[in-house]
């Protein structure tokens, strides 16, 4: 879902011959001219996958697509608004069991559970996209600068990133959320607060990856030759290092996107998400549902919870498959165990 946002930077584009010739990862296959859309991250891996891995990737993509559709078309899909308490027929029942009018029942506050779950997809997707985009930009920028320039700035940034990295992310998100909104907020500000809280947690991860790659690339001949030719630092960073340093990011993005959803839900569960009247948020609904359970009321909690699990599952499946397909240890070793016929098709698919 959030993978395509990074298309431009993660695909090694053969714009510049020196960079792509010394390209350490891309194999001979990748250099063949294929239509551009076929070389986009997820599409590329989908075409290379076989068997179980392909099944996992497709299942994940379908799950993500379902939630994306729910998020975009929430106003059309949801029968009621997320904060609607009554319609022409009078007030909604409280803790009403699932029925023809309320498919998944109503909550203790009298909201329609189905509508809130659908609207919640919108909140979740918006927050995650925002958080991931923000942390990519910040993390890549800091990682490039820190790794390339080195020196005291690098040392300070690395120490701070390590300290943040070791800390429980939820706690940090809580603190940042207090800072931004004082803990209560409307739709836009709430989503922004949640997204920034998650960003602070994730920037160190992108930072570490990009910095490590940059430090490695800095010593590569093509960077050195660019420097000798008199290219400016910004130009070297943007044209030579960035393109090669961001290769592993689609994977981290998917893993982070799922973590972002869990963090958002955790914040909501602790009452630090978005106001219930401003937007629908699954974590908050689960918080309310915890006390319903004692009375045997299951529908208020099970549906938003299942939504979180399925969305995280979908994103993780996509991420896992990308990981397996890009890791030769996990991908290639499957082949000898397969029957020869399968191997042949797999080879053909990869070529």
């Amino acid at each position: 879902m959030s993978v395509p946002t990074d298309d431009h930077s993660s695909v090694p584009e053969p714009v510049e011959s020196s960079a792509s010739d010394t390209d350490p990862v891309a194999t001979g296959q990748a250099r063949q001219r294929e239509p551009r859309w076929k070389r986009l991250p997820v599409v590329w891996q989908l075409r290379r996958s076989t068997g179980l891995q392909r099944g996992m990737l497709i299942a994940g993509m379908v799950l993500c697509a379902v939630f994306l559709i729910a998020a975009v078309f929430a106003p059309l899909i949801a029968p009621y608004g997320f904060n609607q308490l009554s319609d022409a027929g009078g007030n909604f029942p409280r803790q009403g069991a699932p029925s023809a009018q309320f498919w998944w029942g109503t909550t203790v506050g009298g909201y329609d559970v189905f509508s809130r779950v659908v609207w919640g997809a919108q909140t979740a997707v918006l927050t995650v996209v925002l958080a991931v985009v923000l942390s990519i930009f910040l993390g890549i920028a800091l990682g490039l600068i820190s790794g390339y320039l080195g020196g005291w700035l690098d040392r300070i940034l690395v120490t701070i990133a390590d300290a943040i990295y070791a800390f429980p992310s939820l706690l940090l998100a809580i603190v940042v959320s207090i800072m931004i909104s004082g803990g209560e907020s409307g739709f836009i500000s709430g989503i922004l607060a949640a997204a920034i809280s998650i960003t602070v947690v994730f920037v160190p991860q992108y930072f570490r990856v990009v910095r490590a790659e940059t430090v490695r690339l800095k010593a590569e001949p093509f960077v050195e030759s660019a420097r000798v030719l008199g290219a400016s630092t910004p130009r070297i960073l943007s044209r030579h290092v960035l393109r090669n340093a961001t290769r592993s990011l689609p994977l981290i993005i998917t893993l982070n996107a799922s973590e972002a959803i869990l963090t958002l839900a955790g914040l909501g569960f602790l009452g630090f998400g978005i106001n219930p009247t401003a937007a629908s948020e699954w974590g908050y609904d689960l918080n309310r549902a915890i006390s319903d359970v004692a009375g045997g009321i299951w529908w208020t909690g099970v549906f938003p919870g299942a939504a979180i699990v399925l969305l995280v599952l979908g994103i993780t499946l996509v991420g896992e498959s990308l990981n397996d397909l890009s890791d030769p240890r996990l991908r290639i070793r499957r082949r000898p165990k397969r029957v020869p016929r399968r191997t042949a098709t797999a080879m053909k698919g990869a070529a």
Binding site: I164, M179, S258, G266, G271, G283, A294, G296, I308
Partner: protein, 358 residues
């Protein structure tokens, strides 16, 4: 998850020949705690003070401007932020984390009272995580790329994908409400807790206190309360352990010495049990440090979901009351705890695997 994978080879940095023994490593690693804690405390302090002071946040609406100004001056919040910061750092070094705004308690006292609850929960959960994660991971590696492996992988992803509070909700629904096997929440029944608190020299760790009384009704009551929270929090980590054991076992199974053993005719099952298993467990200890941080985060949610009176539960209470002094204090405390456990785990890893020392 990526974390687990990338953290596996701890030996990469340990190439320096003859550099420093274990003692030196421990010392250097111990000194590294100081900047970590310092950075986190500083970060938390400034994040919480950028927008305003805690008094306006918690009671600001209810006081007149004059009263508010008086309260601010009394607590010293009207001074420059930097002055307050240095004072705060000084206090922390003497172990004084401040007092809560809402009920005026020492924050270090809160740690003593509720920390034991969190400690107990985290230990139970670690037991669950290891007991579930390691055998299943071994089984998955053994049946690699077969149906059980695929199912276990999905199980591991589900463990990760389920927020602990949703797991808590489901467990409560099924095992407390529908089946009635376990209590709904809390650390012990009220009557049990009363007895346990009265024991002379009460440790605060319920199970130890209950064992000391030797009364079966108390022990079983305490254990019954612990099962669901431990499973909810433990499964979160179990998925990580499962994947880690599987990946590492598969990795060690392709090492040269295992190949050599295989060519001598050692059977696959024995290879797995005797040759590849133990080396594959070492990375778990390394990753455990990071898992502790994750578990503390999870503990906040688990404790809130089960009404388990520990640090996380208390933190959530103060969050709800907008008592940010208390929040800041507890978060700073947890930072110290995380840094210390990471230190302990690193030392443990160095003791087991000499290559880690550098």
């Amino acid at each position: 998850m990526t974390v687990a994978d990338t953290a596996t080879p701890p030996a990469a940095a340990g190439k320096k020949s003859g550099g420093g023994g274990l003692g030196r490593y421990i010392l250097v690693r111990f000194l590294l705690i100081i900047p970590t804690v310092f950075i986190l405390v500083t970060l938390v302090f400034f994040l919480m003070r950028v927008v305003g002071d805690p008094i306006s946040a918690s009671v600001g609406g209810r006081l007149t401007p004059d009263q508010l100004a008086a309260r601010l001056a009394e607590a010293g919040y009207d001074r420059p932020v930097l002055v307050q910061y240095f004072e705060y750092i000084g206090q922390i070094f003497t172990g004084d984390f401040g007092r809560t705004l809402t009920d005026n308690r020492e924050i270090s006292e809160i740690l003593v009272t509720y920390g034991t609850g969190t400690l107990e929960l985290v230990i139970y959960s670690l037991i669950v995580a290891l007991a579930v994660g390691i055998p299943l991971g071994r089984f998955a590696a053994y049946r690699r790329d077969q149906i059980p492996d695929a199912l276990l992988r999905i199980f591991a992803i589900l463990c990760y994908a389920t927020p602990v509070f949703f797991a808590a909700l489901l467990l409560k629904l099924v095992f407390s409400v529908w089946l009635g096997w376990f209590p709904l929440g809390g650390r012990a029944s009220t009557s049990t807790q009363l007895v346990l608190d009265r024991i002379s020299g009460s440790t605060g760790i319920n199970i130890i206190d209950a064992l000391r009384t030797g009364r079966w009704d108390l022990i079983s009551d305490v254990l019954a309360h612990a099962v669901l929270p431990a499973v909810a929090l433990g499964l979160l980590t179990a998925g990580v352990f499962l994947r880690l054991v599987r990946t590492n076992l598969i990795g060690t199974l392709s090492m040269d010495y295992v190949d050599a053993a295989r060519s001598r005719g050692v059977r696959e099952g024995r290879l797995l049990r005797k040759h590849a298993y133990k080396p594959a467990l070492i990375p778990i200890i390394t990753v455990m440090g990071m898992q502790i941080a994750l578990m503390l985060g999870g503990a906040i949610l688990t404790e809130t979901a089960f009404g388990w009176r520990g640090l996380g539960f208390q933190l959530a209470q103060y969050l709800g009351a907008r008592d940010f002094v208390a929040v800041q204090g507890i978060v700073a405390l947890l930072a110290v705890i995380v840094a210390l456990t990471n230190f302990a785990v690193d030392v443990l890893a160095a003791l087991i695997d000499p290559r880690v020392r550098y």
